[in-house]
Amino acid sequence: MSNVEDKLRSTLAAMTGSVTTPPDGAQRAQEIARGRRRTRVAATASGVAALTVCLIVAAIVALRSDPGVVVTTRQRVESNDVTTPQPKVSSPTTVEPGQGNRVTAFTGAPNQVFVSTDGGRLLIVDATNGGELVDLTGQVGGPGNGVYPAAVNGNGVFWYTRFEGTVPATATLTPDGQRQTVASNASAAALSSDGRRLAYATRSNGATSGSPDTVVVRDLSTNSENRWTGLPASSGNSAPDGQGVTSLAWGPNNLLAVAYTSGFEMEHSAVLVLDTATDQTFADARLLPGELRSPAWTADGTLLAVGAPAGTNAYRVLRFSSLNETPSPDPALSALQVEQIQVDRSGQHVIAIDVNMTLYAADTTGHARRIADHVNAAAW
């Protein structure tokens, strides 16, 4: 082996070639870093300003109302008395950093899609025409590109995961602008369609670095939790190393689809279906064949996932009408280069983000319409 090691040293040295350090490189890196910091600060400051404006508006409205009636901000929001901007009728929305904030309130109406953008904004856009409805940038305590929208429940409460450095937390934002951390060191949050259970991924033993290898399901009424650890090796990876949960999706009858990756480049991906009512360990769960990721369930129990059908390497959106059958390409989305899929809380509408970070919505006629560009993550 030592012969190889010696040769390896000289070979590596020869492979690297000569490098010239750019004379102003450090200064340029420093300036870019400062520019990014200013953008983040501006986003946070404008969020605070928007919150202040909203509170002032709510106070004025309350003062003008019948003195015998106590009107709360929450009631105002739900009855749409607070000034709500009209949707822009422009399709698709191109989201850029630095556009103005308007109101903080949102209603969780069925056509509202939450998006975080690669430019650091957090927005609600209209799923029908791509118009920007509400700018929530800065209201979750950091730039939008560190935010991963998870769900919005019927009361308009927005569930999301936000990264603080390498440590994620799952939190909620209520229509009146209150935010609360629900679980720390928790990513890939998924809220069940009845809003009673929260599933999230975490790192075992409270580690603050490394891949999240544990799935937790919390009953939100009792706060009791069940945990599953020890992800099985994915089909393409016989030596699991650094396996981590990337997304979770609730299905019918307590089923939870767990997507995870492994490998240095996260080159292996797999989806297993966990019955949270009966499966004691991941070994009891069902590992679906093939390289799959980003699962989502529709209301009729169809599982969608991005993957390559057996014997091919062309990735597309696949539909599993039954977990026992071979999946078929999704008619609306299979022609797109989709990387992420989400289904709304009714299980009726599908949104997808492609490799170019463009957000699409699929309709029941088998067509996908483009909603917005530069989208990092979305929830409906």
Partner: protein, 181 residues
């Protein structure tokens, strides 16, 4: 040999219990940029991408300098950021390969320069064919001469995994040499 500086740089740059200043990091840049680009070249096999990866890593480090403490050993921190940046680029390259309509983000491997020796040429080819994690272990071990513990901390994996990946990589490289003889 330039890379022999790396072993002492952590100690040199480690400051006495204070947050690092932009000047500290600028000095680290001047001293380590070339070495880090070489590491990135070995991981990515692409000179342009390697330059970009290291520059982007330093942008991130300048942006996060208040979070770096003296005990963090800034060179290790920067090295980890560079490797994570390379991982991200390898991953994006893999994504572009997954979608056949997109152009492949990778560029062809650099010209063979000083590889006059047949064994070295075969070895260079075999290094490029290694799975990414094995390649990273080999580069950190035989180019930067890091210990197994240091490699483990840099890559965020266990020392046992480092040993396993390094052993497999060396076995593959040895086979590549033997097969040609």
């Amino acid at each position: 040999v330039e890379h022999s500086l790396v072993g002492t740089a952590d100690r040199d740059v480690a400051m006495s219990g204070k947050v690092f200043s932009d000047d500290d990091l600028a000095r680290l840049y001047e001293r380590e940029y070339a070495n880090l680009v070489r590491v990135a070249r070995l991981l990515l096999g692409d000179e342009g991408a390697a330059d970009e990866a290291v520059q982007e890593a330093f942008v991130r480090v300048f942006g996060a300098r208040r979070r770096i403490r003296a005990g963090d050993e800034p060179l290790r921190y920067v090295r980890t950021v560079v490797i994570n940046e390379c991982r991200g680029r390898l991953r994006r390259r893999r994504i572009s390969r997954r979608h056949p309509h997109l152009p492949d983000a990778s560029s062809p491997p650099p010209e063979e320069r000083v590889l006059q020796d047949d064994d070295c040429r075969r070895l260079a080819h075999a290094v490029r064919q290694l799975p990414a994690r094995q390649r990273a272990c080999v580069v950190l071990r035989y180019w930067l001469e890091l210990s197994e513990d240091d490699i483990a901390r840099t890559l965020g994996i266990s020392a046992g995994s480092v040993k396993k990946h390094s052993h497999r990589a060396l076995a593959s490289l040895e086979r590549a040499l033997e097969e040609q003889q």
